[in-house]
Amino acid sequence: MIIAAHGEAGARLRDFLDRRRDDIIGSWVETGFFGEAAGDAAADVRADCENVLTALSHVVETGNLHDPAAEPFQEIRALLGGLAAQQARQGNTAAQITANLTWLKEPVLRLWLDEQPEGQQRTEDVLALSAALDTLRLVVMETAVTEGADIIAHQQQQLAEMSTPIIKLWKGVLAVPLIGTLDSMRSQAATESLLQAIVDQQAQVAILDITGVPAVDTMVAQHLLKTAMAARLMGAECIISGIRPQIAQTMVQLGIDLGEVATRASLSDALAYALNRVGLSVTPAQRG
């Protein structure tokens, strides 16, 4: 059954929502969904509540109770998206955010019931009000999910960019500590920043350290080889260091051949090799 609240019921509900505006907003502020209502933020929180309540009252009036895409809801989507994003940043999942919204519905229904004379509650009114509040919740869930997806995409992008520090170990010697899972996006970002650094710093040797890479499969190996090849084209030699015993054993069984790329067990071995390539050697200091 579709509950339509046009006509009288719609008008009654709209009247109720407008009349009890302050009470409803007061109870909504307490839920915390609209944010901390302390100090300067109090006015903003009230304004957000007002906007949501206005949308709700338009929805009950027009009778379009079940449609999350209804015009009045469209107008507050950006606002709800912002609130959902704020909650997501605090670590709440879309499911938790939606669950918290139950607390918006209850006080409204309570206020409505308190007003009704004993034994004369109009069922169609309470159903309509309840339906509109449920649809509001659906709208928030939709925006929360979209916001969540956006945040994840954004974080992936950030991770791809920040997880590839290029360290200058010596004049002409660069090191790239590769850490964690190398998906194609991060690998690509790492290669690009390394090649740029080789040009900028006129590096002759670049050390790719894989101490922090938990497993080297064919994709990672291919990435390392391609990076070494590209570096060579730019006039720099690549060394792969930090190959732990379990990784070495696995790579052999997998059949990976790093060809002409120099490898060293530790970063310090690789540095010694690199310094040698740029014509330096490390000797104990003369004392006394």
Binding site: S184, V216, Q222, Q246
Partner: protein, 141 residues
């Protein structure tokens, strides 16, 4: 006697899911008391096969289960897709054969990294690869 613990299923439809498969393999290997080398072998084989499921098979699913067989903990992983399948399995297993410009080591390499390897496939039949490995030293815990 064989007892099977609840198996874990990961749907594979993006690169992120390959990370999940690796995590599932790693967790199972730790649980089964695998040494670091054994863990790395299983995780690497799982990574290869999951990538094949995604790249060649167009996505699918991977199940991981721990079973105890005669006191030894065995990890079994099944990689299932309903993609184009493989017409010539021997050729696909051969090192260096790739239809996608890869190194062509994944399938054959994965086979070398595990104790048991089975593949069921054929043109337009999809592909099911089943691998299993046990800890050399038996269960530690």
């Amino acid at each position: 006697m064989t007892t099977t613990a609840a198996s874990r299923v990961v749907q594979v439809s993006s690169e992120m899911d390959i990370v999940r498969v690796r995590q599932a393999a790693r967790e199972a290997a730790v649980e089964a008391g695998f040494s670091l080398v054994e863990q790395t072998k299983l995780v690497t084989a799982a990574s290869e096969l999951a990538r094949n499921t995604l790249v060649h098979g167009g996505g699918g699913q991977v199940s991981t289960e721990l079973t105890v067989q005669q006191g030894r903990t065995v990890i079994r992983m099944v990689f299932t897709d309903s993609g184009p399948g493989i017409a010539d399995v021997d050729q696909a297993l051969a090192d260096g054969f790739s239809t996608r410009g890869g190194m062509g080591l994944g399938l054959g390499g994965a086979k070398r990294l595990v104790d048991h390897f089975a593949i069921e496939t054929g043109p337009d039949r999809g592909t099911v690869v089943t691998i299993s490995s046990a800890a050399r030293r038996g269960r530690r815990r």
